[in-house]
Subunit: 171 residues, 2 copies
Amino acid sequence: MNNATTPITETDLIPLARSMGEALAKAGLLAATAESCTGGLVGHLITEIPGSSVWFVGCAGVYSNAAKERLLGVQHAMLLAYGAVSAEVAQQMAQGALPLYGADVAVAITGIAGPGGGTAEKPSGLVHLHLSATDGTERAERVVWTSDRRGNKLLSAQLALQMLLEFGVLS
Amino acid sequence: MNNATTPITETDLIPLARSMGEALAKAGLLAATAESCTGGLVGHLITEIPGSSVWFVGCAGVYSNAAKERLLGVQHAMLLAYGAVSAEVAQQMAQGALPLYGADVAVAITGIAGPGGGTAEKPSGLVHLHLSATDGTERAERVVWTSDRRGNKLLSAQLALQMLLEFGVLS
């Protein structure tokens, strides 16, 4: 899925958002998102589908560390120990979104969209995603995209939608 | 700006998002959004600009009434009296986003993106936007777009970005 130029657009992801919504609706599930590097993109895509209020309650866009703590209950010590872009913080974001929205399933996205901001240990394009559900499901994904900022955000959104779709289909 | 077909795309709005960010950064202001019908689109557009964490703290995507109450402190009585798509609720959403994010300025968007969901009193395409700032600024906008769902969301996002830009330039 990686590509040096922006590989997809928002409209390319609408069929996936529709399939995801149909799967969640069929399973009677309510979803929420917790978005750092995607900034609200996943929520935007989910709500492109008419009737999405049946399966979607909202996205917590948390661009600052303070917002991650205040809205989602991410622990300050976790941010200090692991950094905002980490599997640990992604998990806390997803777990925090469940009670915040009263959702059955939540997916969190935190990463370095680029082009700057990367380090040797955490390169530009690194994104951690985490899905948590009230049935106890936990799924973590770590990816390093090699697209531009726009592409990295879109690829992250695509994976988030796929994770929700797969959870819905299996539920 | 209205058009029966989708008049603009996400990428068309990136220059406006960049100008807005430059204006807020110059004024030393932190912005947040509270998004119902746009679902996170404004946050997505703002974060398309590298370095946007300097002027943007996050978007509260509140697609359900319960989320509007829980995250933003919108009063249950207001939702019952005026409905989620109203000037009163838009104002409470913007005012609630300021302390939630520790922002200097917040813009809220609540509307009926369509194609369904409209009534004679509140037609499909009706959107209320409200900007509140910690300096006491309040600005309300009521629009009725005549595009499709996607276009209505994009036109709403464009107006939200313009409101933030104008506030930043005047600050």
